[in-house]
C-alpha cells in the first residue's frame, strides 16, 4: 500500500458566539445565542427546519449579518468581516462546485486566489483530492461525478487552503442512506486526522449522534441544550430535546418532597428531582423491557396490556396500554428468549425500566 500524502493537520481555532441575534420581521431566527465551540471540536447544530441552525452557520461564514452580537475566531472579532476575508472552509448543501471548472481547478480555486504558485497549487490540490480519496480525478468535469464524489470534491476544496475552521451545511442530505452512513464515519475520521474546528449543521439526529463531539440542539433560534451525544440522549434537558432526539413517550408524574410518583407508585430515579418546574417521565421504547418474572429491586415496573405487536426484522415494536390508558411503545431485539417472553395481543404485560434510565424532563417546553 502506498502511503498517500494528505493535507497537513491544521492548528484549530475556538469559536466564541455571544448574544448573536437575527430577526426577520417579528420572528427571531436567532435569539441571543451564546455558544462556545472548543478548539478542534466537532460540534453539530441540530434542529428542525426553520430552527435557526443554518442562520447561525451562515452568520459564522459571514453570509448572514446579525442584528447584533459578537462572533470571534480565536481572539479575532469577525462579526463585521466580509466572508472572503474570514478564511473558513465551507461545504455547501448542494456543494456549489463551479460547473465551468474541472475538479482540479475547483479545488485549486482558493489557492489561486491566495496567489499560491501554480505548481504548488496543483500539488496541494492533488493532495487534498487524495485526502478525500479522489486522487487522479483532477481532470474530470464536475458533471461527470456522482453525488458522493461531488461531496468529496466540495470537501477537498474546503480544506485545501488549510482553514482552521470548517463549516458544513447538511453536506450529506443529498446522498442515499448507505452512502450517507459511510460518509458520516469518513468525515469523522477526516476530522480526527485534520483537527480543524468543525461546525456541522444537520436536522438528522442520528447523523448528529454518530459524528459529533458535542451537539447543540436549537429550536426557535434558541439553544435548547449543548452536550455530548450520550448525555443528550440519556439526560435531555427538556421535553423538546427528548422528543427531537430519539423516540419517547411522556407520562405525567406527581412531585412531592424530592420524589416523583407515577399513578401512585413512587419511582426510582436516576437523578434527584428538580422541583422548580413541572416534570414528565420519559420512556424510551428501547429502554423498556418485557419482564418475565419478578422485577429486580432497581427496576420500575409498569403494568399494562399488549395492544399491538409489530415484527420489524432486527427489532420488534410493541404498543402497550398502561392502567390509566396511556399508550407506550416498547422496542427490543428479536432474539429468541425475548420473543418467547412476549405475551400475545390482549394479554397482560409487565414492563421494566431500570433506575438509570428513569429520567424526568421539564414538561411542556417545545
Amino acid at each position: 500500500m502506498a502511503v498517500t500524502e494528505t493535507v497537513p493537520r491544521s492548528e484549530a481555532l475556538p469559536i466564541t458566539i455571544r448574544r448573536v441575534t437575527k430577526t426577520y420581521g417579528q420572528v427571531f431566527a436567532l435569539d441571543h445565542v451564546d455558544l462556545d465551540v472548543k478548539s478542534g471540536e466537532f460540534l453539530t447544530l441540530l434542529g428542525p427546519s426553520g430552527s435557526g441552525k443554518t442562520t447561525l452557520l451562515m452568520a459564522l461564514a459571514g453570509f448572514t449579518r446579525p442584528d447584533h452580537g459578537s462572533v470571534s475566531f480565536g481572539d479575532t472579532e469577525v462579526v463585521r468581516m466580509p466572508p472572503h476575508k474570514r478564511d473558513v472552509g465551507m461545504v455547501f448543501q448542494n456543494y456549489a462546485l463551479f460547473p465551468h471548472m474541472t475538479v482540479a481547478a475547483n479545488v485549486a480555486f482558493p489557492l489561486k486566489l491566495r496567489k499560491v504558485a501554480k505548481a504548488e497549487a496543483r500539488e496541494r490540490a492533488e493532495r487534498a483530492l487524495e485526502t478525500v480519496q479522489l486522487g487522479g480525478y483532477g481532470e474530470r468535469q464536475i458533471d461527470q461525478l456522482s453525488g458522493g464524489q461531488r461531496q468529496r470534491v466540495a470537501l477537498a476544496r474546503a480544506i485545501v487552503f488549510e482553514p482552521r475552521i470548517l463549516l458544513m451545511d447538511e453536506p450529506l442530505s443529498a446522498l442515499d442512506k448507505k452512502l450517507r452512513e459511510h460518509m458520516q464515519i469518513e468525515l469523522r475520521h477526516l476530522h480526527e486526522q485534520l483537527g480543524m474546528t468543525t461546525v456541522y449543521v444537520t436536522h438528522d439526529q442520528r447523523e448528529a449522534l454518530t459524528m459529533s463531539d458535542r451537539i447543540a440542539v436549537i429550536n426557535h433560534g434558541r439553544l435548547m441544550q449543548l452536550d455530548e451525544p450520550r448525555r443528550l440522549y440519556d439526560r435531555p434537558a427538556n421535553r423538546f430535546v427528548a422528543d427531537f432526539i430519539g423516540e419517547g413517550t411522556f407520562l405525567p408524574v406527581e412531585l412531592s418532597n424530592g420524589s416523583a410518583a407515577y399513578a401512585g407508585t413512587p419511582l426510582k430515579l436516576a437523578e434527584a428531582v428538580n422541583e422548580t418546574a413541572a416534570q414528565e417521565l420519559l420512556l424510551r421504547p428501547e429502554r423498556l423491557s418485557v419482564l418475565a418474572g419478578a422485577a429486580e429491586p432497581e427496576v420500575n415496573v409498569f403494568a399494562g396490556k399488549v395492544k399491538e405487536l409489530v415484527f420489524q426484522g432486527e427489532s420488534f415494536l410493541m404498543y402497550a396500554a398502561l392502567a390509566d390508558g396511556a399508550e407506550v411503545a416498547v422496542r427490543g431485539a428479536t432474539n429468541r428468549d425475548v420473543m418467547e417472553r412476549i405475551p400475545a395481543v390482549g394479554a397482560d404485560v409487565h414492563l421494566g425500566l431500570h433506575r438509570d434510565d428513569t429520567v424526568l424532563v421539564a414538561a411542556g417546553e417545545d
Binding site: 453570509f63 473558513v88 463551479f98 465551468h100 474541472t102 481547478a105 480555486f109 468535469q141
Partner: protein
Amino acid sequence: MAVADFAPGAVAEPQDEPHATGLRDDAFRERMAMLGLCSPALLLVLVVLVSPVAWLFWLSFLANDGSLSLEHYERMIASKSYARIFWTTFQVSTLTTMLCILIGYPLAYFLSQLPPRAAAICLITVLLPFWTSLLVRTYAWLVLLQRKGLLNNWAIELGLWDEPVKLVHNMTGTLIGMTHIMLPFLVLPVYGAMKSIDRDYLKAASNLGASPVSAFWQVFFPLSLPGLFAGALIVFVLCLGFFVTPVVLGGGKVIMVSMRITDNIELFFNWGAASALGVVLLALTMGTLYAASRLLRLDRILGEGNG
C-alpha cells in the same frame, strides 16, 4: 431465464409469446397515427419554409435568358462593389453586436440583481420597443439625430460642440439605430442565463476567498457566457439581413446586402441576381452559426485545460 421458468421447454413457440404480432402491429399503427397528426405541421414547414428557399436557390442559377448558368455568382466574385457590400454588412453586424454586448450585458446584470417585481417592470421597459413599429422607431432616431435634430440643438446650446455634427445618414446613425433595435435580443438571453446562475456559486467563491470583483469575473461571468454567446449570435445573424434601419439612417452611404437585393428586384428586375445574393447571405449566416457552434465547443475544451 425468467421466461424459461414460466414456460419450461419450448421457447420459440408462438404460444410462449402471446400477442407478439398484435402488439407489434399496435406499435406500428401508433407510429403511423403520430405521423398523421404531425403531417399538417410538416406540410406547413414544407410549403412556407422549404419550398421558397428551394425556389430561391433554383432562380439563382438561371441566367436572364432562362438558361442554367453561374453568371450571377461570377459577377459577385468579379465585381468589387459586391465585396464592399459584403464587407459593410459584416462590419455593421459586428459593430452592432459589440455595442449591444457593451450596453446589454451590464443592463442584463442590473436586471438580474433586482428584486423580482422591479425586474419585471424593468424587463417590460426593455421589451416595450418591440411593441412599437420598427419604422416609427427608426424615424424617431432620424428626428433625434439629424442636423437640426434634438440632439444637435441641445448639444450646441449646452456648448458641447459648435457646429451640427453629422450623426445620421452615415455609419454612426446606422449603428445607433440598429443597436437600439437589437438590444432586447441580447438582453433577454443574457438575463435568462444570469437568472439561472445559482447564488450559492457566488457564496462559495466568496467563502473560498474571492473578493466581489474576482467572484464576478471568475465565476459569474464565465457562467453567463452561454447566454451572452446566444444573444450575440441572434443579434449578429439578424443584423446580416437587416434592411429598414440602414436604409433610413444610412442615407445611402451604408449599403448592406439586403439593400442590394431590393435594388436588383425593384430597379433591375433581376430575380436571378437577387436570388444569388440571398443564397450567399444564407450561406454566410449558416457559416456563422456553424462557426459559432464550433467555437462554443472549443471554448468548452479550453475551459477544461485552464483553471
